[in-house]
C-alpha cells in the first residue's frame, strides 16, 4: 500500500538519521585517534590518579576539572532554570499582543550575543563585584553567573515555545473546568508541556557543559577541587580551549582524552535522564500515528 513517493519520503528520513549518526561516529573516531597515544602511554587510570595536571611534567589528572565542570554547570542551571521558567510563564500568560511579540524579539536578539561578549561583561562587572566579597573574584560563582546569563535567553525562548503550543490545546479546557489562570498554568500547562520543557533544559545543560570562552574568562582556571563558591575552578572544556592552541605531543593527546571524557559524562547524563523523561502518553500517541498508515 506504500506509494513510490512514500518510499522516497521514508528514504530521505533514513538518510537524515544516517547523516547524524555518521557525524557523531566521525567525531568519536577523530577523538579516539587523537587520544589514543596518551591513553596507551599512561593508561586510563592515570587520568584520575595522577598527582595533578602538569603537562610539562607529564602529570595528567582530569578529576578536578571533571568536578569543576559538574559544579559550574549545576550552579548555572540552578540559577537559570527557576528564573527562565518564571519569566517565560509571565511573558506567555501575562503579557499580551504586541508586547509579548516585542519581548520574544528581544530574547531572540539576546540569544545571539557571542559568548565572548558575556565573558567580557563578566570580567568587567561580575568579577569586580565578587572581588568585593572575597578575593580573587574570578571564581566558581562568577562562572556560574555568567554561564546562566548566557543560557537564560535561549532557555526562556524554548520554554515559551513549549507553553505556546500546549496553550492552544489545554488552556481553554483548563479554564472551563473552573480553574483560575494560575491554577491552569501550574496544574495543567506545566505538566502537559513537561516533555518540551525538559528537552529544552537538557539542551541548555549540554550547552553549558560544552561552553568554553565565557567560562574561561571569569572562572579563574585554577585546577583544584573547589571548597567554596569563591574558589577559582577549571572545567574540562576551558582546559581544552586554554591549552589546545599551544599543546604538542602527549599533552595534546591528553586534551583529546578530556574531550572523550566529556562525551562520556554527557552519555551518562543522558542515560539517567532518559530513563525518566520518556513521556508514556506521547510514545503511545505516536505509535498510533504509524499504525494508522
Amino acid at each position: 500500500m506504500y506509494h513510490l513517493s512514500d518510499k522516497f519520503f521514508r528514504l530521505s528520513q533514513l538518510l537524515g538519521g544516517l547523516i547524524a549518526t555518521t557525524i557523531i561516529a566521525i567525531i568519536v573516531i577523530v577523538l579516539l585517534i587523537e587520544a589514543w597515544p596518551s591513553v596507551a602511554h599512561y593508561g586510563l587510570f592515570h587520568f584520575f590518579t595522577a598527582s595533578g595536571w602538569f603537562p610539562l611534567e607529564a602529570e595528567y589528572n582530569l578529576a578536578p576539572m571533571l568536578t569543576g565542570t559538574l559544579v559550574i554547570t549545576l550552579g548555572a542551571m540552578f540559577i537559570a532554570i527557576p528564573l527562565s521558567l518564571a519569566s517565560s510563564i509571565f511573558v506567555v500568560f501575562y503579557i499580551h499582543g504586541v508586547y509579548q511579540h516585542l519581548v520574544t524579539r528581544l530574547l531572540e536578539l539576546l540569544s545571539g550575543i557571542p559568548s565572548v561578549v558575556f565573558g567580557l561583561w563578566g570580567m568587567i562587572f561580575v568579577v569586580p563585584a565578587l572581588l568585593k566579597i572575597k578575593s580573587p573574584g574570578t571564581s566558581l560563582a562568577a562562572g556560574s553567573i555568567v554561564l546562566a546569563t548566557m543560557l537564560i535567553p535561549g532557555l526562556v525562548l524554548m520554554c515559551m515555545m513549549a507553553f505556546r503550543q500546549t496553550l492552544e490545546h489545554f488552556y481553554l479546557a483548563g479554564r472551563s473546568l473552573g480553574l483560575t489562570k494560575m491554577q491552569t498554568v501550574i496544574q495543567v500547562l506545566i505538566p502537559s508541556s513537561l516533555p518540551s520543557l525538559s528537552s529544552a533544559m537538557f539542551l541548555q545543560t549540554a550547552r553549558a557543559i560544552g561552553e568554553t570562552m565565557a567560562v574561561l574568562m571569569v572562572c579563574g582556571n585554577i585546577i583544584q577541587y573547589p571548597t567554596s563558591l569563591f574558589d577559582p575552578v577549571r572545567t574540562l572544556s576551558t582546559n581544552a580551549a586554554l591549552e589546545m592552541a599551544y599543546a604538542t605531543g602527549d599533552h595534546r593527546s591528553a586534551l583529546f582524552t578530556s574531550g572523550l571524557l566529556l562525551l562520556g559524562l554527557v552519555a551518562i547524563l543522558l542515560k539517567t535522564s532518559r530513563q525518566r523523561s520518556i513521556p508514556e502518553n506521547i510514545a503511545c500517541f505516536r505509535s498510533r500515528t504509524r499504525e494508522s498508515l
Binding site: F54, P55, M217, G220, N221, E243, A245, Y246, H251
Partner: protein, 275 residues
C-alpha cells in the same frame, strides 16, 4: 510556507551559483597564494604585513590563519600552510627552518594605583609561591595580592618559569588566564592583581591610556631598547617557520619581513625586530 520554500530554493540556487563561479575563477591565470597559520600573538601583525606586501605585489594573495603555535607547526608539517607563526623558541627540524623575525619581552604589570615600581627575582618567586600574601610588606599599599599566571604551554609562561628557575607545579597562582589581553583586563579591574604579559601588549595599552603600569625587574625598565640590547632578563623569540626549501613566493615574503619596511611594521606593533 510557500515563501519559506521559495526562499530555500533561491538559496540553493545561490549556492550552486557560487560553486560554479568558483570553477570559473579557477580558469583565470593562477595567482601566487601563500597560507600562513599559527600563533594568535603574531596573527594581527602578520596579517597587516601581508596586506602591505599584497599592495606591493598585486599578483600575491596571502591568507593568514590563527589557532596557536602548535597549529602553526602542525600545518607546516602537513603542508596545509606554507609559513607557520610560532611565538616561542624552537629548534630546526628536517621539515622546517625557523626564521626569527622579532623579540618580545615578558614584563610584570600591576594596576596604576599600585605604588610598586620595582621587583627583584626573589620577591617575584616569593609572590608567585604565596610566601608574600599582602602588598603591605612591599609598598605603602595594602590588600591581598591576586597572582595571575598563564596556562600551560604558553610561551610567556615558559620563559617566565625559565627566568625564575621554577617548575609550573611550584607556582601558586589565584587565577590562570590564556591571552595577554585577558591579563590586562583582570589587572585593570583589580588594583591588587599582578600579572606577567608580553611587553608589546603592555606598551600599547599604556599608550592607549589603560590604568596599568609595568614594573622594573632587577632594576631594568622593560623598554624596547633594553629588550633589544639584551639587558632585560625575560625575552621570548617570535619565529616564522617554513620548509627548508621554500618556494620563491615564500622566500620573498620572508625577506619582506626582515626588510626595512617589515621592521617598521614590527615596531609599530611594539615588538623588537631581530637583527
Amino acid at each position: 510556507m510557500s515563501r519559506i520554500a521559495t526562499f530555500f530554493v533561491f538559496m540553493y540556487g545561490l549556492l550552486i551559483g557560487a560553486c560554479q563561479s568558483e570553477s570559473a575563477l579557477d580558469a583565470s591565470p593562477p595567482r601566487e597564494k601563500i597560507v600562513i597559520s599559527g600563533s594568535s600573538t603574531l596573527a594581527p601583525m602578520i596579517s597587516v604585513m601581508a596586506k602591505t606586501f599584497e599592495q606591493d605585489h598585486p599578483n600575491f594573495r596571502i591568507d593568514v590563519q590563527t589557532g596557536g603555535s602548535s597549529r602553526g607547526i602542525n600545518d607546516v608539517q602537513l603542508k596545509l600552510a606554507d609559513i607557520g607563526m610560532v611565538s616561542r623558541h624552537l629548534e630546526d627540524t628536517d621539515t622546517y627552518r625557523a626564521h626569527t623575525i622579532a623579540q618580545d619581552g615578558v614584563t610584570m604589570i600591576v594596576h596604576k594605583n599600585n605604588p610598586l615600581t620595582s621587583l627583584n627575582k626573589n620577591t617575584i618567586i616569593a609572590i608567585y609561591q604565596k610566601q608574600i600574601l599582602d602588598w603591605s610588606g612591599l609598598t605603602t599599599f595594602s590588600g591581598d595580592i591576586t597572582v595571575i599566571s598563564k596556562a600551560e604551554g604558553r610561551s610567556t609562561l615558559e620563559v617566565f618559569l625559565h627566568y625564575l628557575g621554577l617548575k609550573n607545579s611550584e607556582l601558586r597562582p589565584d587565577s590562570i588566564i590564556g591571552d595577554n589581553e585577558q591579563a590586562v583586563k583582570l589587572v585593570v579591574n583589580n588594583p591588587n592583581a599582578i600579572a606577567y604579559v608580553s611587553s608589546s601588549t603592555a606598551e600599547s595599552h599604556i599608550k592607549n591610556g589603560s590604568p596599568i603600569k609595568t614594573i622594573q625587574i632587577d632594576g631594568v625598565i622593560p623598554s624596547t631598547e633594553n629588550v633589544a640590547n639584551g639587558k632585560f632578563p625575560i625575552v621570548r623569540k617570535l619565529n616564522l617557520i617554513a620548509s627548508p626549501s621554500p618556494s620563491t613566493a615564500v622566500k620573498q615574503f620572508l625577506e619582506f619581513c626582515s626588510s626595512v619596511q617589515g621592521k617598521r611594521l614590527i615596531e609599530e606593533f611594539h615588538f623588537v625586530p631581530s637583527v
